[in-house]
Subunit: 341 residues, 2 copies
């Protein structure tokens, strides 16, 4: 298995990307292609004390880099020699099994859709991060790829999220819920109401396990395993979750550091606190899968360090092994609405 | 000052509502009118060991109660003798200065709009809770009154939230931000883009202090003092915040209760932990003001206990004293777009 990595994307590129990739190659037994400026990648390796490319690690030189200021929809043309575009091209060509980038989210979405293509029948690809909750975690889909959605998009997200949760979270029958402003069937905007009808019908036919509308409060509290929403709403949920977790972690830290007694208290609880930290740490959970594309494409956090990249590579390996893309393609007839044209 | 209270609204009515109201009457020196079934209110008082009405506390008998199943938009007709409708009527008639209910949110919004009316020029009333953050707290407006909004609604929310934050949070120049999926001016749906232009113009004229788009992550982290959004998005943010805070509190509790050592650790940190709990406890912060109505109308949390009701009464008193409604009415010309008709 070969994982292609955009060595130039993200706040800490290429140093941390290269470091994480080399660690993962050894630990996880995957082959790696680092795409980016050859000289910069080599000096990042030297910084890590490595003079020759480890076995299974290759460099694919790319002159250019996608910047956060680029118009995401046109980078395939304007940045044709960038590490992101080139990396996606060699994925599409079959020179690797998965692609990871910590660069521009919008550019990755657009370029992956154009170059690696959506699975036939899938209307839109969606970001589907795994969020910690009070149980076995849950899948949020879409977390930001599509601001505006139709009920059919959301129905497809529900199916894709369900296949993903089955394998990635090891759930026999993942509970699928629509994110809404109340649990009653009549709640929400027209989008949520129409999606409700589609998912109810799919559930009645035994295709998915639809549990109805869920409130945002119920997401961290484990009310559903797959949370279906448009990308704008999903972004608000994801970022509120992150911000609140950060605020509370910060408050707890301040409590522990207040005086000698609280510092002693903190020592007693260290094991549990570290476990909790890990649960809420994106570096442990890896990146976010772009669901609906023909091959695994993963967005790593923009501020990923070596550990974050290693996490994303672990996730890419899982995606290839568990073959979510294959599940979606095999079941596409279940999740396409008849079209007039 | 007289605060009118729906004694029959919420999960713990009338017992906890009556208990909280009587405590507050004494402690805060406000007069109270309890609206609801007279016999039930009297037995709730007896349970508390009170046989005669305390000075300044009155009962206004109402035969009927609004239920959570009622269609919110028609309760003014279908539940004309309910505690909520009667309470709002006597507020509109001038027999009190503010109204509080822990009953149905939708019914309160609809009945307050019909009976107490919006301030002339205000297009929509909005729920505006105060959220804890890493600083002096912030105002979220709208948190759920209006699923669908126009840019003008959001502009008005920005002004109303700004006046509210000035006095309630004691901020000279509250930083107003649009809740969005990114900070760049071009982010979001058409609603956010058009609102951006309106708020930028208002800010350039010195009417408000607009700081641009903010991400949901920045809300708990204190990026703005007034968070402007449509009610659907506001509901998602508010409930995600609540759920995440609950999840983390629960995790911390489990860590502390794990064994003897962690319990000792918890003892050392008790003071700080209790302070943090209070910060995230809705019972301390009171209820949510329905901004844009001619007189203060406050939604108390559905599960309010006596302490929650006391908090809401404290907030009602503040609303009357600081006269937010007057600020809005006095400045209405600043926040109305010219109309074609």
């Amino acid at each position: 298995m070969r994982v292609i990595i955009d060595a130039m994307g993200g706040d800490n590129a290429p140093r941390e990307i290269v470091a994480g990739a080399i660690d993962a190659a050894k630990e996880l037994g995957v082959e790696i292609t680092l795409v980016g400026k050859g000289d910069e990648i080599l000096s990042a390796m030297k910084e890590k004390g490595i003079d020759t490319l480890p076995e299974g690690v290759e460099i694919c030189h790319a002159d250019d880099v996608v910047s956060m200021e680029d118009d995401p929809t046109s980078i395939v043309k304007t940045r044709r020699n960038s590490s992101m575009v080139l990396g996606l091209k060699i994925l599409a060509d079959g020179q690797g099994d998965a692609f990871i980038s910590a660069g521009s989210t919008g550019a990755l979405l657009s370029a992956a859709t154009l170059l690696v293509k959506r699975i036939k029948g899938i209307r839109r690809a969606a970001f589907s991060p795994i969020l910690p909750n009070n149980g076995k975690s849950c899948v949020l889909i879409d977390a930001g790829a599509n601001n505006e959605c139709t009920p059919e998009f959301l129905m497809q997200f529900a199916f894709m999220g369900s296949y993903y949760a089955k394998k990635a979270l090891k759930l026999e029958s993942p509970r699928v819920g629509i994110l809404n402003n109340g649990t009653e069937e009549t709640k929400g905007l027209q989008l949520q109401k129409d999606t409700y009808a589609l998912l109810k019908a799919a559930s009645d036919e035994g295709k998915i396990n639809f549990v109805g509308n869920i409130e945002a409060r119920g997401v961290p509290l484990g009310d559903a395993d797959v949370i279906v929403c448009d990308g704008f709403t999903g972004n608000i949920l994801l970022k509120t979750f992150e911000g609140t977790a950060l605020l509370m972690s910060d408050q707890i830290k301040k409590i522990f550091l207040k005086n000698l007694f609280t510092k002693i208290g903190a020592l007693f609880c260290k094991g549990g606190i570290n476990k909790m930290k890990a649960k809420f740490d994106y570096r442990e959970t890896g990146g976010t899968v772009l669901m609906g594309i023909t091959k695994p494409v993963i967005k790593a956090h923009g501020s990923s360090d070596a550990r974050g990249i290693r996490g994303a590579i672990k996730q890419a390996k899982e995606c290839v092994e568990l073959d979510f893309c294959g599940d979606i393609a095999a079941n596409i007839s279940q999740m396409v609405l008849p079209r007039d044209e």
